[in-house]
């Protein structure tokens, strides 16, 4: 394998976008959760909600910051590394990116300032409105970026060729390409699940230390409610999304299931060792006929295998097959966790089952892993195309040298390793402190000289004649 600009650019894009997606998939859900918490506080004046809000908003600030800076990279990397793609696809999906910036990014960025620093500056109503607008912004952002990605998966509403340039002929079909509705649903539910799992894990961790912490008990109950409802819905959404793949990207579906020959009564492979060299599976653990039933809805349905496509049109199989199984396996575990929690809640014992609390902690990162696996299925499964059926990835790369790309890739690896490990450390530290210690409301403006524990770092020499007005 030659490390040319194409391969390096692919690695760089995969790495930077996989890094980036971690943060939106958490902050989309967390923003909505914060809006709910603040709304409940305003409604009930129950201080538990306020404490939880002030705690989770700090986690949000850390995660959102990392999401913003890794996202700015994406808006330039399309041009630096994928200039042919940009020039070809710009007239069609450029507006979707522009709308994301205009409708979502400014909204999030501006009202985030009020959300984080405006607690004492604006009234509770305006502050709540700012939280809601940030949450709305995150969902709007998801709408447009998934729309752009879905068009790349199932392009519609356009005319022209790669050589003469693409142009949109029907904007509604461009924005609402066939796979878009289910993919957006799938992603937003994934974000909510990811957040619920993190909240459940953090709360369970605290409850294992102190079972009487009311804030953590409340947060855990909310997270369980979310899991119990959303995890089964996600299974449904994922299945419908799979039906879209069958219809619009049959080669991807064949790779997901490691189907090689086209036939009815395809077996479902629970596990297998697919190999493109031998055009088959080295071994497989299968249930007969179930494959056709799951993917096409009937045991006697004929489903295309990979050999129906020319070798140069087949996506990598091994990685797609296994990434899909990781995602689904974790999804099933989430459903089980949700039901277990709901059953315990019904019996009034959520905080008193150490086994359940430990399971919650263990499942904390499951959402992130499932999201990244899901995106690997979507993106690797689209190969060898960048715009499915229209533009091949190898034809989309910029006219740049391997030297520059290896330098930037190396720099990304180093910078992201630092940012990620430090960010994770700070977030975990806050989570371990728990909502009560971690939720210092900014104290009144007069008597704050000694500062909060966080403000008074050892390096800080204290007031130097500077006081806040």
């Amino acid at each position: 394998m030659e490390f040319d600009a194409l391969l390096l650019s692919r690695i760089q894009f995969a790495f930077t976008i996989a890094f980036h997606i971690i943060f939106p998939s958490f902050t989309i859900g967390l923003a909505s959760y914060l809006a709910v918490l603040e709304g409940l506080w305003l409604l009930t004046r129950n201080e538990t909600f306020k404490t939880l809000y002030l705690f989770w908003v700090k986690i949000f600030a850390l995660s959102f910051g990392m999401g913003v800076v890794s996202g700015v990279v994406m808006s330039y990397q399309l041009g630096t590394n994928w200039s042919v793609f940009s020039a070809v696809a710009g007239p069609v999906i450029g507006p979707l990116f522009a709308f994301e910036v205009l409708a979502a990014f400014f909204l999030e960025a501006s009202f985030l300032g009020v959300m984080l620093f405006g607690w004492k500056k604006v009234g509770p109503g305006l502050h709540f409105a700012s939280t809601v607008l940030v949450a709305f912004g995150t969902l709007t952002s998801a709408f447009w970026i998934i729309s752009a990605n879905s068009w790349m998966q199932s392009p519609s509403g356009f005319a022209g060729t790669v050589e003469e340039g693409l142009v949109a002929v029907n904007w509604l079909q461009v924005i609402f390409s066939p796979t878009f509705p289910m993919r957006l649903t799938h992603m937003v539910l994934a974000a909510y699940l990811t957040t619920a799992l993190v909240v459940a894990a953090a709360s369970a961790f605290r409850l294992l230390k102190d079972a009487s912490e009311a804030e953590s008990a409340m947060a855990l109950k909310m997270a369980i409610g979310m899991l119990a409802i959303v995890a089964p819905l996600q299974l449904l959404a994922g299945d419908l999304s799979g039906k879209d793949v069958l219809e619009h990207q049959p080669a991807k579906l064949a790779a997901i299931e490691a189907f090689w020959e086209t036939r009815s009564e395809q077996a479902f492979h629970i596990a297998a060792w697919p190999d493109r060299e031998i055009e088959g599976n080295h071994w497989e653990l299968s249930i007969p006929k179930l494959g056709s039933l799951i993917t096409a809805g009937a045991m006697d349905a004929e489903v295309q295998g990979l050999t129906a496509f020319a070798p140069e049109d087949r996506p990598p199989v091994f990685i797609v097959f296994w990434a899909f199984r990781v995602m689904v396996g974790l999804g099933l575990a989430m459903i089980a966790l949700g039901f277990w929690g709901a059953w315990l809640a019904w019996r009034g014992r959520t905080t008193r089952s150490p086994a359940f609390l430990r399971a919650c902690v263990a499942m904390g990162p499951a959402g992130f892993v499932a999201v990244i696996s899901g995106w690997i299925v979507a993106e690797v499964g689209r190969q060898p195309y960048v715009i499915y059926g229209v533009l091949r990835t190898e034809d989309a790369v910029s006219p740049i040298g391997a030297g520059a790309v290896s330098a930037s890739l190396l720099a990304f690896l180093v910078v992201y390793a630092i940012v990620f490990s430090v960010g994770a450390l700070y977030i975990l530290r806050l989570l371990a402190e728990g909502p009560v210690a971690g939720a210092h409301e900014p104290p009144p403006r007069e008597n704050r000289a000694p500062g909060t524990p966080l403000a008074a770092t050892p390096e800080d020499p204290g007031p130097s004649g500077q006081e806040t007005r």
Partner: protein, 341 residues
């Protein structure tokens, strides 16, 4: 109604980039000035003056990049690979200084020191690399058909280095005058001293860059009235409001500093940036990839530009309104304890 969509979009992108330079300029300037602060507490204050705004400010950069992709995909597809190294360098720097806002507040002794350094270093490198991008753009890009056809280090010339230093000095001017406006006591006094140095450096570098720019391409010299040794005063007179605006801005900064004004130096600095921006734009307009591709040649399909214009017409006024509102909410002098941390 027949709208000149490519021209309108060139104007929108130009406005986004100008707003970016002015807004993120002052908050990058804060980072550039970070090493000169006398105490960690002053650094806290400096950061607090921009903490609610920086994210919104940086979004104009995303609009600049995303907008260029959407409205002029061909230009985006040529400029980005041409300036690959400085752009990626800018990204790394912006990442490190961006996360520093939160990380610095969370770090303990060593962590805080590291992120203080990352904020200062990241802001400075981001400013320098933006100067390299600007310089590399102004000096022109080599084309091969409708794609970038030059080498990976085309952007590295004495001219681009000069622009990089000039832009960094300019950002330091914006940052120091912003601090004069938004801080008190010792830090306010320090900011005044920084502003004096920054305005002198900016004025000198602006003059040198302006002069050097006349030599990067014959088209630029021609615009300003120089052709084959001959000089056309009428052309220069036509454009003279631009340098005069810059001089007025510099004068306003100096006057504000001398008489102890709080807002005047910042407003003067912004005026200098508007003038410098227009002065450079005049040189390469109507090219969007100097000096071989015009904005019309690079424009996206009419229907894409039209659709986006509807979005802009509705959303841009709203964006500007709530941006102004956020600045209003956090108005006034800021202290070290203003953060929520």
């Amino acid at each position: 109604m027949d709208l000149d969509l490519p021209l309108i979009w060139a104007g929108i992108i130009a406005l986004a980039v100008l707003l970016y330079v002015m807004l993120d300029g002052f908050d990058l300037g804060i980072g550039i000035l970070f090493p000169f602060a006398r105490s960690p507490r002053d650094r806290d204050t400096m950061m607090n003056t921009i903490a609610p705004y920086w994210d919104g400010n940086e979004t104009w950069l995303v609009l600049g990049g995303g907008g260029l992709f959407a409205a002029f995909p061909l230009a985006y597809a040529i400029i980005m690979p041409a300036l690959y190294i400085p752009i990626l360098l800018m990204m790394m720097a912006l990442i490190l200084r961006g996360v520093a806002f939160e990380f610095r507040a969370r770090g303990r002794t060593r962590g805080k020191a590291f992120w203080t350094g990352a904020f200062a270093g990241g802001s400075t490198v981001a400013a320098l690399s933006q100067g390299l991008v600007l310089g590399g753009f102004i000096q022109g890009v080599t084309l091969n058909g409708e794609a970038f056809g030059g080498g990976p280090f085309d952007w590295l010339t004495p001219y681009t280095l000069l622009v990089a230093v000039g832009l960094t000095a300019g950002y330091a001017l914006l940052g120091s005058t912003w601090l004069i406006w938004r801080t008190e006591d010792d830090l306010h006094g320090d900011a005044r001293r920084w502003a004096w140095r920054a305005v002198l450096a900016s004025a000198a570098l602006l003059a040198v860059v302006s002069f050097a720019t006349l030599f990067v391409h014959p088209q630029v010299a021609l615009r300003w009235g120089f052709e084959d040794g001959a000089f056309d005063l009428a052309r220069l007179a036509l454009l003279s409001p631009i340098p005069l605006l810059g001089l007025a801005g510099l004068g306003f900064v100096v006057w504000g500093l001398a008489k102890g004004g709080h807002v005047a130096p910042f407003l003067g600095s912004l005026t200098v940036f508007v003038s410098g921006y227009l002065g450079l734009a005049v040189g390469f307009f109507p090219n969007i990839v100097p000096y071989d591709l015009t904005f019309r040649q690079a424009a996206s399909a009419e229907n894409a530009l039209g659709l986006m214009l509807v979005g802009v017409a509705i959303l841009l006024p709203v964006i500007l309104a709530y941006t102004v509102w956020v600045y209003w909410v956090f108005r006034g002098k800021v202290g070290a304890d203003a953060g929520y941390h």
